[in-house]
């Protein structure tokens, strides 16, 4: 296990072994985080690879004000959200419509084995505002602490708690419909 400071130093020297360590450390958690935003495996794979490449090429911009983990997650989150925005433009759909389109595709996705309630949950998540959706996913599925989410999304813990509470209420009411 390499200490974070040493790893960052080696990454700044463009050490490819250090890059491999970085990928191995974060690949699974980051993949599932991105996957929950873009839903489809192939898209998640593209976004994940681009995220790691951006991290490696812009590591000089990492000042150490936050943890490396938070910084990587922030880049991954931005990449995934940008990906959806570009996709909505390409398809000529609004953001709400593209989210609905992505969820509808899940039913035919070989890498989605969700049952009825899991699919309904995805439909409920697609209707949430971006921030509420992210907070719910990170808290409920990824079991992150509010402090960690706060560092990634650059939002106060109070604001995150409010977003999470609203998300839960909306999901609850959608599932009861």
């Amino acid at each position: 296990m390499i200490a974070e400071e040493t790893l960052v130093q080696r990454l700044k020297q463009k050490d490819s072994k250090a890059f491999e360590v970085l990928i191995d450390t974060h690949k699974e958690r980051l993949y599932w985080h991105i996957r929950r935003i873009v839903l489809n495996h192939d898209d998640a794979n593209d976004v994940l690879q681009n995220t790691f490449i951006k991290v490696f090429r812009s590591i000089d911009g990492f000042k150490g004000d936050s943890k490396l983990f938070s910084w990587i997650y922030r880049i991954g989150t931005n990449e995934a959200l940008t990906f959806i925005k570009v996709k909505s433009k390409k398809l000529g759909l609004g953001m709400d419509e593209v989210q609905e389109h992505m969820v509808n595709n899940l039913e035919a996705d070989v890498y989605f084995e969700g049952d009825e309630i899991q699919l309904k949950l995805q439909k409920a998540l697609a209707k949430l505002p971006e921030k509420q959706k992210l907070v719910f996913m990170m808290k409920y599925f990824e079991e992150m602490k509010y402090g960690e989410i706060s560092a990634i999304l650059n939002t106060s813990v109070g604001g995150l708690k409010a977003s999470y509470h609203l998300a839960v209420k909306k999901i609850e009411s959608y599932l009861k419909e």
Binding site: I23, N45, N50, I53, R57, G92, Y111, H165
Partner: protein, 170 residues
Amino acid sequence: MGKISKKEGFKIPEGYFEGLSEEIMSKLDAGSLDLPKSDGFTAPDGYFDSLGKEVLAKEQTDEIRVIRLKPYKKLFFAAASVAAAVVLIFGWQWQSSQSVDFGDIASGELQAYFEDNSTGLTSYEIAEVLPIEDLELDDILESNLNDENIVDYLEATIEDIDELNLNNDD
């Protein structure tokens, strides 16, 4: 009343109060949702095993532009990049074809053009690759704006032009 015991006979499970606040907090967090913790997504077998090598190979061959994180420049670059893109794209078309004049194109058509011909790049990404430092306002506008035009425009669009405190020296 003095002969009745103050004890009510109620009992509580051992250690009840110790975990109570935690239990309430977790209920508050999740509301009354009864959801599965798994979301149903799966990944192909062995996907994570080969991922590291795949990313390294892509990093060495791919020409992905790195976006520097300078949010304070974002708005400036976005606005300038749209203007620069208009100049570059329509300037080229204008020179190559005399039949269509820039003035013939309605702003709605311009908007539709950009919506239908998405480059796949965000304005931030376009801003990163377009050299905007050498651009002047005159490169974008067909004719120079004089003071009279500006005052006419302000009169037509601003509710109370006096609030702008304009004087002849400005």
